[in-house]
């Protein structure tokens, strides 16, 4: 048997056709199959599809749909925060307290603020200044970083 004979024989199979009216029945059968498949679909698929249809009916594209979902999620989070504020504050307060506590002040001897015609005000608390004189009520001045307005003390220098 040659290749040509074989090819001719195989081409004859093109004449093998289904019985008359088959294609009309096929269409009906396919429709029936599609309806049956719709009924057998799982619930979550139907719910998802209906959600998509709902958004598509409101003329929103895929991006709008995603945006709407994100907005809904944000609204939910904000609503939860508003409705349950006490729990959130209780949980966060210890952290805030730790952050607010300042470190203890380091002693800084001989630190004065140079202010003209102003009452002397030490930068730190008087207790932290070892050289601070007792308060007399009189104004005190500082010249060249040395206090110059002390009242003459009763003690005198001896060389």
């Amino acid at each position: 048997m040659t290749d040509e004979q074989l090819s001719a024989l195989l081409r004859l199979k093109r004449f093998e056709q289904p019985p008359p009216g088959y294609y009309d029945r096929l269409l009906e059968n396919v429709h029936r199959r599609q309806r049956a498949e719709l009924l057998r679909r799982p619930l979550w698929k139907i719910a998802l599809e209906r959600t998509q249809v709902f958004f598509s009916e409101h003329s929103m594209g895929h991006l709008s749909y995603a945006g709407a979902m994100a907005a809904l999620l944000l609204t939910g989070i904000v609503a939860i925060r508003v409705m349950v504020p006490g729990r959130l504050e209780t949980k966060t307060s210890p952290v805030i307290a730790k952050l607010v506590v300042p470190p203890p002040p380091a002693p800084a001897p001989n630190r004065y603020v140079v202010i003209e015609n102003q009452p002397h005000t030490p930068a730190l608390e008087p207790k932290a200044l070892p050289m601070a004189p007792p308060s007399t009520g009189a104004p005190r001045y500082v010249i060249d970083a040395r206090p110059a307005s002390y009242e003459p003390s009763s003690s005198s220098f001896r060389f």
Partner: protein
């Protein structure tokens, strides 16, 4: 395999189907079912199996058409679904099959090629038409699924190598190679008869 006008018509029908017009999909079914039937039937050699498979193929195509992006023609796409589903079916069916090729179209007896073939060979002329068909189909069933698919598309449906390669997702060289071995096998099976 397809002219530009036909392809544009398909594109419109697909777009309408994707937009929810089921009637457009019916038009695609009517248009492509005869060729698809030939493909499936010549691979299964059984009308009942072919009928079931045709429904499965079109149902699957309907479910998947929303994902069809037109990278290939609809013709290639639906044939690809058809071949894959038929091969899967044949693998499940195994060797359990029976031929139902007793309803050959009467027009074949008037076909020019058939007359030439029977006139050129004395044994064939003497052979009964239904017997010839039966032997050919038995020979086809002895081929592997992949070889049968290639023979069906090339020799029976007249598709070019490139189209077959696209449908099966293989190279044209593989198509030619499979055709060569399939022809050798068929010739061996039919030598005794002719």
């Amino acid at each position: 395999m397809q002219d530009e006008q036909s392809r544009q018509q398909d594109d419109q029908l697909i777009a309408r189907t994707q937009a929810g017009d089921a009637a457009a999909f019916d038009e695609l079914i009517v248009k492509y079912s005869p060729r698809l039937y030939g493909l499936v039937y010549n691979m299964t050699s059984n009308h009942e199996d072919t009928n079931d498979l045709m429904q499965d193929i079109w149902s699957k195509a309907f479910r998947s058409i929303t994902g069809f992006r037109g990278k290939s023609s609809f013709y290639t796409w639906i044939h690809s679904i058809g071949v894959n589903m038929t091969i899967n079916f044949l693998k499940k069916r195994g060797r359990r099959f029976h031929l139902s090729l007793d309803d050959v179209d009467a027009g074949v007896q008037n076909d020019k090629e058939f007359i030439e073939l029977t006139a050129s060979s004395t044994p064939v002329r003497e052979a009964d038409l239904s017997e010839l068909q039966k032997r050919l189909n038995e020979a086809m069933q002895k081929l592997s699924h992949d070889h049968r698919a290639v023979v069906t598309m090339f020799d029976i449906q007249g598709m070019p190598h490139a189209e077959i390669a696209k449908i099966l997702g293989i190279s044209e060289g593989t198509v030619r190679s499979r055709l060569f071995y399939a022809h050798r096998q068929l010739q061996n099976f039919l030598t005794e008869f002719l």
